[in-house]
């Protein structure tokens, strides 16, 4: 069943650009999120102490403190009656919206704050080492010195093998994402210009099958965002964006453990690495909202590697299951159709603002619905779907917004 009455009171995104101006200091993660919250509160026309609930994603890379959400609460000097971190990896940012919506519909909150951020430009840790440490099983994978792209690589190599994808097929994904980024003023890779298939294939291999130009680059600036949800009757009359539904699915923590998940759902006959939790999360979000994938006008996904774009599109039903090769060879990503996809270039060419990457895609979707997209603007869209994930394709959350 869809949320009946949950609407977006406001949203905001802030960026601290690097290199810093003389005399400026790099903001901490808490500080830059605080800036985003201030902006969102002003746009919503409410005071900070009207926030009844604060939900955050798991501790960001820029601040690994276990109870990061509490640190933020201490900066904001509020005392909400509901607060927690949603711990299903990066997908947790979108999941925050679900828990907020539930409180709003139950009358346990009037305003819910869902912020996100990561001071990526002032990261206290080495990003490669950090990810390899937390994303590999310390007992059973870490001893082999994997890097995150090699953990995703287990999914990738299976997908390439099962779908019989060529190097050119994979490269078309990167080329397509770059084309969108060129039109977006905040996309990291905009200044590099369009990509060719040859350039992608010539880029150095990082962890097979992912080459450098199949991988999302780290965003060079620090970014933070905030979404404030409320019940629709708290907003002025007129068009507003409703949160219609949120679907979730978490399937594992580490890839080795994932191979022990089978006997039900898409994994009934045995484990597989080519259908992710996005399939169930997307199905849930659509069915709760009473929609089909064909009703979606805008789709933004959180996907850091080229192989996973067609994989997630299959999971969400945009591409028929098993049909990625055909879809890519027919230029499906760039077909002139109803669906506006990864309008900011996606992570591959927008860049990954560390753990703020989900908020990047969510705000892009909301701007599309508002008609205020900074890059390519979809033609009068009504319904947007945002897919998020985190961990090694471990947790997936799908949210559906509708202009009404």
């Amino acid at each position: 069943m869809a949320f009946r009455n949950v609407a977006v009171a406001s949203y905001a995104m802030v960026t601290q650009h690097m290199p810093l101006a003389d005399g400026d200091v790099a903001k901490s993660t808490v500080a830059i999120i605080s800036d985003a919250v201030r902006l969102a509160l002003a746009r919503a026309g409410i005071e900070r102490r009207q926030i009844d609930a604060l939900f955050t994603h798991r501790p960001p890379m820029g601040d690994a403190f276990m109870l990061f959400g509490q640190k933020l609460l201490a900066e904001l000097k509020i005392a909400p009656s509901s607060t927690t971190a949603i711990m299903n990896h990066g997908a947790g940012m979108l999941s925050c919206l679900k828990y907020g919506a539930l409180l709003l519909e139950a009358g346990l909150a009037d305003y819910v704050l869902c912020p996100s951020g990561d001071a990526g430009a002032a990261l206290p840790v080495d990003a490669v080492a950090y990810n390899a440490t937390i994303e590999s099983d310390a007992h059973f994978e870490a001893p082999y010195d994997p890097i995150t792209p090699s953990l995703y690589g287990q999914f990738a190599q299976r997908f390439v093998y099962e779908r019989e994808l060529s190097e050119e097929d994979l490269a078309t994904v990167s080329v397509s994402m770059r084309a969108r980024a060129i039109d977006h003023p905040e996309a990291q890779m905009r200044s590099r210009g369009p990509l060719t298939i040859e350039q992608v294939i010539a880029s150095p291999m990082i962890a097979s099958p992912s080459r450098l130009l199949h991988c999302a680059p780290w965003y060079r600036h620090s970014r933070a965002g905030a979404i404030i949800l409320t019940r629709a009757e708290n907003l002025p009359a007129g068009p507003k964006i409703f949160l219609r539904s949120v679907g979730e699915c978490v399937t594992h923590e580490h890839v080795t453990g994932r191979m022990g998940l089978y006997g039900f759902g898409p994994w009934k006959d045995g484990p597989n690495l080519t259908t992710t939790g996005a399939h169930l999360a997307g199905k849930q979000a659509l069915s709760f909202a009473g929609l089909g994938i064909e009703d979606i006008d805008v789709l933004e996904t959180v996907v850091p590697f080229a192989f996973a774009i067609p994989m997630i599109l299959e999971d969400l039903g945009v591409i028929e299951k098993g049909g990625s090769r055909e879809f890519l060879r027919q230029g499906g990503l760039d077909a002139k159709g109803k669906l506006a996809f990864n309008t900011n270039g996606g992570m591959l060419s927008f860049g990954q603002s560390f753990l703020n990457c989900v908020m990047d895609q969510a705000v892009e979707a909301l701007q599309q619905l508002d008609g205020t997209a900074l890059g390519r603007q979809a033609d009068n869209p009504s319904i947007a779907m945002v897919h998020s994930h985190g961990g090694v394709l471990a947790g997936h959350t799908v949210a559906i917004f509708e202009r009404g």
Binding site: A64, V125, D126, T133, H139, G153, Q154, R158, G260
Partner: protein
């Protein structure tokens, strides 16, 4: 004894501790077995399936009736990825992958030689002493899969 792999670990990044990773018999016994050139996997007395890693309950039927069994370690490559940029100072490329043992359970390990890995190839276990302890790796067999 594989002290490092099986014992409790403090996960650290650049010296900052981000969390404890507890001593766990399911890891300790496995790695102690590797140090003795044995591949040990949890076996379910109720449904007969194998579970890995570190399971306390059968991943197939959730029974707690598990015991350790030694297996041959022979299997096939289920997936792999060849790494060209290591997270630490070490020679590249090297390959890590998921091996499907003949018993139907999957392990994560290194594959040698790194450039010969391909899905479906037969592999055999090799126990490789190294600076961190004895690792279980898999050699691509000369036999067809």
């Amino acid at each position: 004894m594989n002290k490092q792999f099986g014992d409790g670990l403090s996960l650290t990044i650049d010296g900052a501790i981000i969390g404890p990773y507890d001593v766990c018999p399911g890891a300790k016994i496995f790695w102690d077995g590797v140090a003795e050139s044995r591949v040990l996997v949890r076996h379910c007395g109720d449904c007969g399936r194998y579970s890995h890693p570190r399971q306390d309950a059968c991943e197939n039927c959730f029974s707690a009736n598990l015991s350790w069994r030694q297996v041959s370690g022979n299997g096939t490559i289920y997936s792999y990825s060849t790494i060209h940029r290591a997270p630490i100072a070490r020679k590249t490329p090297y390959t890590v992958g998921l091996i499907r043992l003949d018993e139907g359970v999957h392990l994560f390990a290194g594959i040698e030689p790194p450039e010969r890995a391909a899905i479906g190839l037969r592999v055999t276990p090799v126990f490789a002493p190294g600076p961190k302890g004895v690792l279980l790796n898999f050699n691509v067999s000369d036999q067809e899969g």
